[in-house]
């Protein structure tokens, strides 16, 4: 739940304005709407694959609000729909990716959810867990190398990724060189079917920070304001030369890993239903209404606007052409692609 001061009943906003709070909420609604749209399209047989992020909405919207557009760099993973929207990607760009159209940023080559946008500072990444983290560290090195203050790299990953060797190597290098790098772990307790207890012996990931000589903290990832505060503190530290931070946001993965996963094979409905009580979307709605930042009418209007935007993006994107077969051969190298050169 959001950080409401019990005694006075006031909302701890950490400097966020009403507009910003509403923007955070809208982002959460949009994330959930687009998530669902992906699943719908898959069920309709229109797209072969979808991967959801329900449970991450507060974490991602809050983190996005702490990101400085045009300055910071984002190195996300494939469950960061909300974060990508929050830093400026449009629903249309999302749908182009889902539909794998030619005008998608990646020309329809990447899996859905593997967004990239040079303009938005969103680094291209693959499906390989943790492979993007050394890239994020390298980008942070470049920023520091050029003496650019006011810029930092926000890298994200799930709990599972923290077991990867490259997670460790990235944290180590970033800490040695005090790079402008923030490692945001979105701990949703599941790596496909692997629960936290099988992933690590110490379930509080932020505790590893001390071993790298960097600050670490944990926050409630179901609370977008607390998220914003934690990520902002870390990003500010990074931007001003204070070095890297490990921040861990706790949340939960409500859905299966993707449309190719059946989570009932490894957890129970009751387990998930119990955690649904913490669903950040209705929870934040309740907070905003309680503190008079939105009315029920506002929320209805927001939901409608989000749905309209999603529908329009869907319809337009669906009409776009696929890449041509000849597009297979472009952008392998800058020049010729044939391995045998005449």
């Amino acid at each position: 739940m959001a950080s409401t001061d019990i005694a006075t009943g006031t909302l701890e906003r950490h400097g966020l304005s009403d507009d910003q709070l509403r923007a955070i909420f809208r982002n959460m609604l949009l994330q959930r709407q687009l998530d669902n749209r992906g699943f719908q399209l898959n069920r309709q047989g229109k797209v072969p694959f979808a991967l959801g992020s329900e449970g991450h909405e507060a974490l991602q919207a809050g983190a996005a609000m702490a990101f400085n557009r045009g300055l910071d760099v984002l190195a996300p993973y494939y469950r960061d729909l909300g974060l990508c929207l929050g830093i400026g990607l449009s629903p249309y760009e999302i749908l182009l990716s889902i539909f794998a159209r030619a005008s998608d940023h990646n020309g329809g080559r990447q899996f859905p959810n593997h967004y990239s946008s040079k303009a938005a500072g969103l680094m291209s990444f693959s499906s390989i867990l943790a492979a993007h983290l050394p890239h994020a560290v390298g980008a942070a090195y470049a920023i520091k190398y050029r003496g650019e203050t006011g810029r930092a790299v926000l890298a994200t990953c799930g709990d599972g990724t923290t077991s990867e060797g490259e997670w460790h190597e990235s944290m180590n290098f970033a800490s040695i060189h005090k790079l402008p790098f923030v490692m945001l772990v979105e701990n949703n307790e599941w790596a496909i079917s692997t629960p936290l207890a099988k992933q690590m012996a110490e379930p509080q990931i932020w505790k590893r920070a001390a071993g790298y000589g960097m600050p670490g903290r944990r926050f409630n990832g179901f609370d977008p304001i607390e998220t914003y505060a934690a990520v902002k503190e870390a990003m500010d530290r990074a931007r001003s030369g204070g070095g890297p931070t490990l921040v861990e946001g706790t949340c939960y993965r409500y859905l299966a890993h993707s449309t190719d996963d059946n989570d009932m094979t490894y957890r129970t409905r009751e387990m998930v239903a119990e955690r649904r009580k913490q669903d950040p979307v209705p929870a934040f709605e309740a907070v905003l209404i309680e503190h008079g930042i939105v009315t029920a009418g506002d929320v209805a209007a927001m939901r409608k606007s989000v749905l309209d935007e999603t529908n329009e993006a869907t319809d337009t994107a669906e009409m776009q052409p696929y890449p041509q077969p000849s597009d297979l051969y472009t952008n392998i190298y800058e020049g010729a692609w044939q391995p045998w050169q005449s």
Binding site: V73, A75, D104, H105, N106, G107, R109, Q110, H114, S116, S117, K118, M123, S124, S126, I128, A131, L133, P134, H135, A136, V137, G138, A139, A140, Y141, A142, I143, Y145, R146, G165, E166, E169, S170, N172, F173, I176, T330, N331, I332, Y333, E334, A336, W337, Q338, P339, W340, Q341, S342
Partner: protein, 334 residues
């Protein structure tokens, strides 16, 4: 071959790498070198000796022992506008970074449809003949040349080292630059002064001949030329081609030669099965079958995991000029 003139300097392969890296650091502020022991130690072959004093620790970066992230961090630097030259201390240590090379660097431009690119050079010493045993002697080109999105070169002469390394440094795409460690100090040659590049995908005819085409690269190019010259005294005319560039590879030079000599012998140090020779053989069989008067032959490393530390094991693994001469003679006489 390098032109011998007043505007060139004699140096060995190590010196050629060193001189080229030095110029790259001097001429482009975006250039950084990243690897193990490249700073104070100056690289284990002294290639970057004194670089850190001149260019600073931020440009000549001593990394922790972490090969996956040496390449991965370099990729990130490249994506964010630097021009990193990563070093893997010995090719035998490259395997932890295999995913970063083939799954990430090779695909960056492709998967982002050109929005993100990866101008990265990965340099590594490879090859045997230095008593390096199981973990300091392997050849790795066959593992990587298969991968679209990578470029791979393996120069044998100092002049080629400089020209190809300059091309690699300028290349907007990832390049694996293979340096045969035995040639580091063994091979000397004239290197033109000043900046120049040699394009990828261009082989070099080291010695002309009419009765047999020999294609090779790396250390063995030198042995092959030695063997061919010895056979010359017996009246046998063998043409030796130095591939220099493995991906892309020079089709025209190979086919022109085969059409002339009508016989092809491929010699490489790497294991035979699935090595570079296999691709060359397939290409020539596809495109020049009726120009051949003999089956294509490959004289290559044996298909064992690596050369052992004991001298007889290393010698058994490696091919000598005498063995190469025997193979050449047999083919000419076929």
């Amino acid at each position: 071959m390098a032109v011998v003139s007043a505007d060139s300097t004699v140096m060995n392969n190590v010196e050629a790498v060193r001189a080229t890296l030095y110029e790259a650091l001097k001429n482009d502020d975006r250039t950084v070198i990243i690897g193990e022991d490249v700073g104070a130690r100056g690289n284990v072959f002294l290639i970057t000796k004194d670089f850190v004093a001149e260019f600073g620790e931020h440009r000549v970066i001593d990394t922790p022992i972490a090969e996956a992230s040496i390449v991965g961090i370099a990729i990130g630097m490249a994506m964010e506008g630097l021009r990193p030259i990563a070093e893997i201390q010995f090719a035998d240590f490259i395997y932890p970074s295999f995913n970063q090379i083939v799954g990430e660097a090779a695909k960056t431009r492709y998967r982002s449809n050109g929005e993100y690119t990866c101008p990265l050079v990965i340099r590594t010493p490879y090859g045997g003949g230095v008593r390096g045993a199981l973990s300091h002697s392997v050849s790795v080109e066959a593992l990587f040349y298969h991968v679209p999105g990578l470029k791979i070169v393996a120069p044998s002469f100092p002049a080629d080292v400089k020209g190809l390394l300059n091309t690699a440094i300028d290349d907007p795409d990832p390049v694996l630059f293979l340096e045969h460690k035995k040639t580091y100090r063994l091979i000397k040659g004239e290197v033109p002064n000043g900046h120049y590049t040699i394009p990828f995908g261009k082989a070099n005819v080291l010695k002309e001949g009419t009765q047999l085409t020999v294609v090779s690269y790396g250390l063995y190019v030198h042995w092959a030329v030695e063997a061919a010259r010895a056979l010359q005294d017996d009246g046998l005319s063998v043409e030796v081609i130095d591939l220099r560039s493995i991906r892309p590879m020079d089709k025209t030079t190979i086919l022109n030669s085969v059409e002339k000599t009508r016989k092809l012998l491929i010699i490489h140090e790497d294991n035979k099965f699935g090595g570079i020779g296999a691709e060359i053989s397939a290409m020539v069989a596809e495109e020049a079958l009726f120009h051949l008067d003999a089956p294509i032959r490959r004289l290559c490393g044996p298909d064992v995991p690596a050369m052992g530390y004991a001298l007889p094991l290393e010698e058994e693994f490696m091919s000598s000029p005498a063995e190469m001469a025997d193979a050449m003679r047999e083919m000419v006489k076929f």
